[in-house]
């Protein structure tokens, strides 16, 4: 750690030097067991500014916030708060010093009242007891000043999520925060609640507080923020006025693709497009999940790789999970070879020939303490047994085939899967699903977080599977993977299909425009992108 704790104790009560920036970050780096999460981040937060922090998954946003708030210590670099170098070691230190964080999941106490939550740990006292009346009076004055309409004596858990977020904001204000970091505060809010939250945020900014705002809903950035910093791969790739960027510009910065500079091919290991039949193998329509998906539909023919594009939060994973029966839907029509699969059950989907490689390998994929062998055989155990007795010989045969076919590197089939590299864990999971002999393979970020060699192998495998007549639905945040790996890309935006690209129109430039929420033909900025792409 570069600096010893210069945190909480020395903070003077008078507002020091209101002209300078609230936060100045220079060259902060942070890596986790060799993986660089932040590589020299510079960041400045001015008083009264609402500063958007954007980037795709893995760009380093959360790590950066965690460094600011003392959850992680930076490996090197400097963080100055109100001009003083600081190195918080605990979130409480950052909070006491005046940096408050509001997370997506509200970390307040649902069973306490609004007032109790706002002043939790700092209750006004009388005769050594909590002065409830004083507490409520103070809290009521505070929420009124912020323009929040809520009864401070109400139990927090009984209120809507939006109100809870605003209570979290009020708490931040009440502890005299100079900096408020809002990490996706709106992701579970209704439109009206978002408006009120923004109102409170503006009031705060008006009083000289600096706000850092993280959101995946791009529209909100222009509605609320004045400045934007874009992170990609742990680096700051852009800082500037919010109004100076348009949607396509922002999205291309986030994804690292310039709309006017699109390479032809070659960064992935995908081959040419695949031959496919005419009748759809998978056909999905009218998938409704309240607040998440609105009438999503797609089809995939045998041998076809259908890409599912969209920014974070657009509903890609949810669509796959709904098809797989893991996410409960209010309505959904899924058909495999014309046969309807009743939604809402994973085992029915599996039996119908659908497999889902889920995005979160650790939480939803591997069973860490079990062997490679048992992980591969997990989904087909009933088929590997007779009368409930497992046939180890059959499992061994199956496992051997897949370990060789997918080149899984493990010391033996008995090795615990937890000890394998990310790429090999991913191959174990691919083997688990391939063992079920699926007709439709839903792949959610199949190459995320695995090394380059394994990535190429997985991409090669996707081609091979399509060649064998499977229908593949591919979700990927990597433009190259999506454009080169898919025969067709369905683009999602805010939980609905916003467009579809195929044939000549399946280019990075068009995809970029579509991802930003526009349709290539009618967006002004897209015309230029298209033109340069033809060259």
């Amino acid at each position: 750690m570069p600096h010893p704790t210069a945190a909480a104790p020395g903070r003077a009560p008078e507002p020091p030097d209101s002209s300078g920036p609230l936060l100045t970050v220079r060259g902060v780096t942070k890596s986790f067991s060799g993986v660089h999460a932040l590589r020299g981040v510079d960041f400045t937060l001015e008083p009264g500014s609402i500063h958007a922090l954007v980037g795709e998954n893995g760009a380093g946003k959360s790590t950066f916030i965690k460094v600011l708030t003392g959850v992680h210590a930076a490996d090197s670099g400097e963080v100055r708060f109100l001009g003083e170098p600081v190195a918080f070691t605990r979130p409480a230190d950052a909070q006491n010093a005046g940096i408050s964080t509001i997370y997506q999941e509200i970390n307040l106490v649902p069973l306490l009242t609004v007032a109790q939550n706002i002043y939790l740990g700092r209750e006004p006292r009388r005769f050594g007891l909590v002065d409830t009346r004083g507490l409520n009076r103070q809290a009521a004055a505070l929420v009124e000043r912020l323009g929040i309409d809520v009864d401070v004596r109400a139990e927090l858990g009984s209120l809507g999520l939006g109100v809870q977020q605003m209570v979290a904001l009020a708490r931040a204000v009440s502890i005299d925060a100079r900096v408020v970091i809002m990490d996706e505060p709106t992701s579970s809010l209704e439109v009206r609640e978002v408006e009120t939250l923004f109102g409170v945020a503006r009031t705060l900014a008006g009083s000289g507080v600096g706000l850092v705002f993280v959101s995946h809903r791009l529209d909100e950035l222009w509605a609320l923020c004045d400045t934007v910093t874009v992170l990609r791969d742990g680096r700051v790739v852009h800082t500037g006025a919010m109004a100076a960027l348009d949607r396509v510009g922002l999205v291309s910065l986030m994804l690292g693709r310039d709309a006017s500079d699109v390479r032809a091919a070659g960064t992935t290991d995908f081959g040419e497009s695949h031959a496919h039949g005419d009748a759809p193998l998978l056909s999905v329509s009218g998938v409704e999940v309240p607040n998440r998906l609105h009438g999503v539909g797609l089809t995939a023919r045998p041998g076809e790789v259908v890409g599912l594009g969209g920014l974070l939060g657009s509903g890609r994973s949810e669509t796959l999970k709904a098809i797989y029966g893991d996410l409960s839907t209010t309505s959904a029509d899924v058909e495999i070879q014309g046969q309807r699969v009743r939604p809402g059950s994973v085992s029915r989907a599996l039996r119908a020939g659908i497999a889902l490689l889920s995005e979160d390998r650790k939480a939803e994929g591997i069973i860490p303490e079990m062997s490679v062998r048992d992980n591969i055989a997990l989904a087909v155990l009933p088929r590997m047994s007779r009368g409930g007795l497992v046939s180890d010989a059959r499992i061994d045969a199956l496992v051997e085939v897949f370990m060789r076919r997918l080149k899984i590197k493990a010391s033996s089939p008995q090795q615990k899967v937890r000890e394998l590299s990310g790429g090999n864990q991913q191959k174990v999971l691919l083997a688990r699903w391939l063992a079920t002999e699926p007709k439709v393979f839903l792949l959610d970020e199949p190459t995320r977080g695995i090394d380059v060699g394994a990535k190429r192998e997985v991409q090669g495998l996707i081609d091979e599977l399509a060649g064998q007549g499977l229908a593949v639905v591919l979700v990927s945040s990597e433009m190259d993977e999506l454009v080169e790996g898919s025969d067709r890309v369905v683009v999602l935006h805010d939980g609905a299909v916003s467009g579809e690209l195929d044939g000549d129109r399946l280019t990075s430039a068009d995809l970029l425009t579509a991802l930003a929420g526009g349709i290539p033909s009618d967006a002004g900025t897209a015309a230029g992108a298209e033109r340069s792409d033809r060259g």
Binding site: V346, E364, G365, M370, A377, A379, L381, M384, S385, V390
Partner: protein, 336 residues
Amino acid sequence: MAEQTATAAQPAPAAPPAEPHTRRRVDGAWFRRNGVYLGLVVLVVVNLVITPHFASTGSLRLQLVQVAPIIVVSLGMAMVIGTGGIDLSVGAVMAMTAAVIPLYIGYGTFGAIAAGLIAGLLSGALAGSVISRVGVQPIIATLAIMVGLRGLANITGGQIKSIRDPGFRELGSGDVLGIPWVVLVAVVVTLVVWGLMTRTTFGRQLVAIGGNARASTLAGLPVKRVLTTVYVLSGLLAALAGALLVARNQASDPTRLGQLVELTAITAVVVGGTPLTGGQVRVLGTVAGALLMQLITFTLVAHNITDSVAQMVQAVIVILAVYAQVGTRMRRRSRA
């Protein structure tokens, strides 16, 4: 301390850090897996030296007969803990069995035992369904059943009744080829549970669910069915243990029988190396754990140290066992 042992055991000083699984060393993980056997061996040796008549058949027999019902309950508990759950109702199920047996003794030994087992099965089915389908936490669901069933056992059973049935007398004090029936039952149960865990789809699915329930659901495993079955098995085994105790005492005492057995069983499982977080079931470890706790009590009591002190020693053993588990996990996390 474990780290020092590790360096001492590794002669090659400049060896690059090998893959963790290839290293065989005496650390927390090794201790968690094998500590119980080590403890058992040490305790047997100590007793051979300091306790007169320890090696006599009579003494040995008494030890085994006493521990047999505990082993039976603990194996059920081990399966439950393997799913990441817990079953606090086993002691109450034993009491319920004790209450049921005198009511059905008119149907013969087997009829009465069957009635007791059905009571255990129903209780387990109730716990399992509430946990797997309603989603109530295992500790709460089985706590409720424990309290309710104790009450029910008192109402239906009441005070001590002596059982004068030749079948029960034979089960409680008879033997085959010198092996007491009670011990034989425990051995058979151990083999059956071991087979279930190693040879069947059920066993593999159970461990998978304990290891990662979410991943198991996505892999299409019948999570609810497996969970329900696990609690049914635990209930059945608890009822069987209750029947064994009734047979051994030649009496049924629903108010006292099985008191605190749930804690003894959890202790045996944990000391045996099964992690409380689930994902593993150590069948032989559990048997060894039950034997170890039994032997500790015996050793202390044989040397005129009161039962209360024995309980405190047991507490220390449990803390050590849990420490070995948690310590291993924390070290692993810091390595990751």
